[in-house]
């Protein structure tokens, strides 16, 4: 595998058993994602794009096949090993932000750092830097309910970035935002990809959002139907 490849999915299959039926989401899917890529995954509902994102993020395991990240297989890791792998390598950005409602912005951003050995002082510095990056330093003490949707998503981005992961996984990151705010968030993701070298994989329904990605793949019924549509 080339050193430029961050993610390599080899012969991935994913099946669910529902009652007497077996539902196949993917069958023998291959995919490579280069370091520094900004990939948009599009497709209709039920096409398997969120399932694919979950497997890339280590929150779901393939029924068969190999998931190789940075040269190491992650599909064979135990639950606790996967949790540690996610904490070290992956930042997650969700459609509905998923901030902890009882924590203020800076405490929310600090959450992933609780999984590290960093001291309180260093954690505070990293949190301040992450909030600065998303231009929310002045909202550090605000509770999520006191922030707009766009601001909450920026806090979520700061939380995803604070432990400096190689990979950002975004599940419909602009799905709950108006166009203008969505563009601001997408520009921020572009900046993180371009200036900070973050590899970004974004699931979206929105063709406008996909335009911000370096490339887009379309998934339908568990298969890539067209690749490399956008540049």
């Amino acid at each position: 595998m080339s050193d430029d490849i961050l993610f390599d999915l080899r012969g991935i299959s994913k099946k669910f058993v529902k009652g007497n039926d077996t539902i196949t989401v993917f069958e023998n899917l291959d995919m490579s994602i280069a370091r520094g890529d900004f990939l948009a995954i599009m497709g209709p509902s039920g096409s398997g794009k969120t399932t694919l994102l979950n497997m890339l993020g280590g929150v779901d395991q393939p029924t068969s096949g190999e998931v190789v990240f940075d040269g190491k297989r992650v599909d064979t890791l135990s639950e606790n090993q996967l949790a540690a792998w996610r904490a070290n390598n992956v930042g997650f950005i969700f459609q509905f932000y998923n901030l902890m409602p009882m924590l203020n912005a800076e405490r929310n951003v600090e959450l992933p750092l609780l999984l590290t050995r960093l001291g309180r002082g260093q954690r505070k510095k990293n949190v301040a830097a992450a909030l600065e990056l998303v231009s929310l330093s002045d909202r550090a003490k605000h509770m999520p309910k006191e922030l707009s949707g766009g601001q909450q998503q920026r806090v979520a981005i700061a939380r995803a970035l604070v432990s400096d992961p190689k990979l950002l996984l975004c599940d419909e990151p602009t799905g709950d935002l108006d166009r203008q705010t969505a563009d601001e968030i997408l520009e921020m993701l572009t900046l993180l990809n371009r200036d900070y070298g973050k590899t970004i994989i974004m699931v979206t329904h929105d063709p406008e959002a996909a335009k911000y990605a370096k490339r887009t793949v379309h998934l339908d019924k568990g298969e890539f139907v067209a690749k490399e549509l956008a540049a």
Binding site: N54, G57, V59, D60, E79, N80, A83, A84, R86, A87, N88, F92, F94, N98, M100, P101, M102, L103, R107, E110, L111, P112, L114, L115, R120, R123, R159
Partner: protein, 384 residues
């Protein structure tokens, strides 16, 4: 910010629910603390009874009298160190409902047999010398505001004087204290001679005797000797160790221990349901957040511990506040002008409470903690 901060934030996110849950636990532990103090106070009559002390009562039952002539005969029994005798007086102060335990006793020997009642030698001598003198327990004296040196009238709801009066005049010679904090200081003792000479029912009878033996191991032999002495007489005796006598006396009220334990168990069961339900609901509401935490890299075991600690904290806060409130109640009861045994909320109650806190916290937390442990990330994120 470590896990403790997250636990505290989760705990306080719904202040009303937290308050109600802690309050419910508080009430249960207050009931537990107070009733346990009562139970221990009643048990103290048994626990503090001297092993080398016997009680001699009429075999028919302890309300029947014995001839005073028995006292000297018992004194002569081998291995008997001292004998005193007591008559229930049925005393009340100023109004019939202010009734208390008052006995006419053989003052010279009384404090030898009941040496847990503490007064000075000078006070003892003064009491023996004053036929109208009485000694009153600290608790009863405080209830009625009696001071040593004071002259007081006490009525009897059983006896009358030969001139028809039901009140007797007494000198309060001394206020005795207990050798142990739970020694009963709600009783009053005065001279049998004064009682015997003035009451109109006819004299020379006693209620029961207190007997001190040389050694608890000699009790059985002394009991047999005393009861044999009066066998087949018009007033046969039944001699029992003081512990057994006190236990039987308390059990007349009913099985207090069972009653108190049942009340405490009922309170704990209700709390178990309330707090357990509240915890399950609380964690269910946080399903998505738990899913997010797991996604970020928090392990299931860590989340399990956080939920369990949250439940233990609720039990700990409510439990300790409840026992502290029980301490306050006990102190109020002890200060109240009512004749009750001295209540003590000791270290054993706190230790028991801590144990129950741990059990309650564990039981109410284990189900939601297991739910959180087993929660699948995808299920959690898709549920809401």
């Amino acid at each position: 910010m470590k896990d403790v901060y997250l636990i505290l934030k989760n705990l306080t996110r719904k202040p009303l629910r937290l308050f109600l849950t802690v309050f419910a636990t508080f009430i249960a532990f207050m009931i537990f603390g107070t009733l346990t103090a009562f139970q221990q106070a009643f048990d103290a009559g048994v626990d503090l009874a001297a092993d080398d002390r016997l009680v001699v009562v009429n075999k028919i039952n302890f309300t029947q009298t014995l001839p005073i002539a028995y006292v000297n005969r018992v004194r002569a029994v081998e291995d008997v160190v001292a004998v005193t005798h007591l008559n229930w007086f049925g005393g009340y102060y100023q109004e019939p409902r202010a009734q208390f335990a008052m006995f006419a006793v053989d003052a010279e020997n009384f404090l030898t047999v009941y040496d847990e009642l503490v007064i000075t030698d000078a006070e003892r001598a003064a009491w023996i010398a004053n036929r109208q003198g009485l000694i009153a327990g600290k608790s009863i004296a405080e209830s009625f505001g009696w001071q040593a040196g004071e002259r007081i009238p006490v009525n009897s709801n059983i006896f009358s004087q030969r001139d028809g009066r039901t009140d007797w005049d007494f000198d309060v010679v001394a206020i005795y204290e207990g050798a142990d904090p739970q020694t009963d200081t709600n009783s009053v003792y005065f001279h049998y001679e004064y009682f015997n000479e003035t009451q109109s029912f006819g004299g020379d009878f006693i209620g029961f005797m207190g007997v001190r033996t040389t050694d608890p191991e000699r009790n059985e032999a002394v009991i047999a000797a005393i009861d044999d002495l009066f066998a087949n007489s018009p007033a046969e005796t039944e001699t029992v160790p003081e512990k057994a006598f006190n236990k039987a006396f308390i059990e007349q009220i009913g099985n207090l221990s069972l009653i108190l334990t049942s009340v405490v168990l009922a309170a704990f069961f209700v709390i178990l349901v309330i707090v357990g339900n509240s915890m399950i609901l609380s964690i269910r509401e946080r399903t998505r957040e738990i899913g997010v935490m797991k996604t970020l890299g928090f392990t299931s075991g860590r989340i399990f511990r956080m939920v369990l600690v949250e439940s233990l904290l609720i039990a700990l806060i409510g439990g300790m506040l409840g026992v502290a409130a029980a301490g306050l109640m006990v102190s109020l009861v002890n200060q109240a002008p009512i004749q009750l045994p001295v209540l003590v909320l000791g270290g054993s109650v706190w230790t028991q409470a801590l144990l129950y806190v741990a059990v309650l916290g564990f039981i109410t937390g284990i189900v939601p903690a297991m739910n959180a442990l087993r929660l699948n990330i995808i299920t959690a994120l898709s549920r809401s």
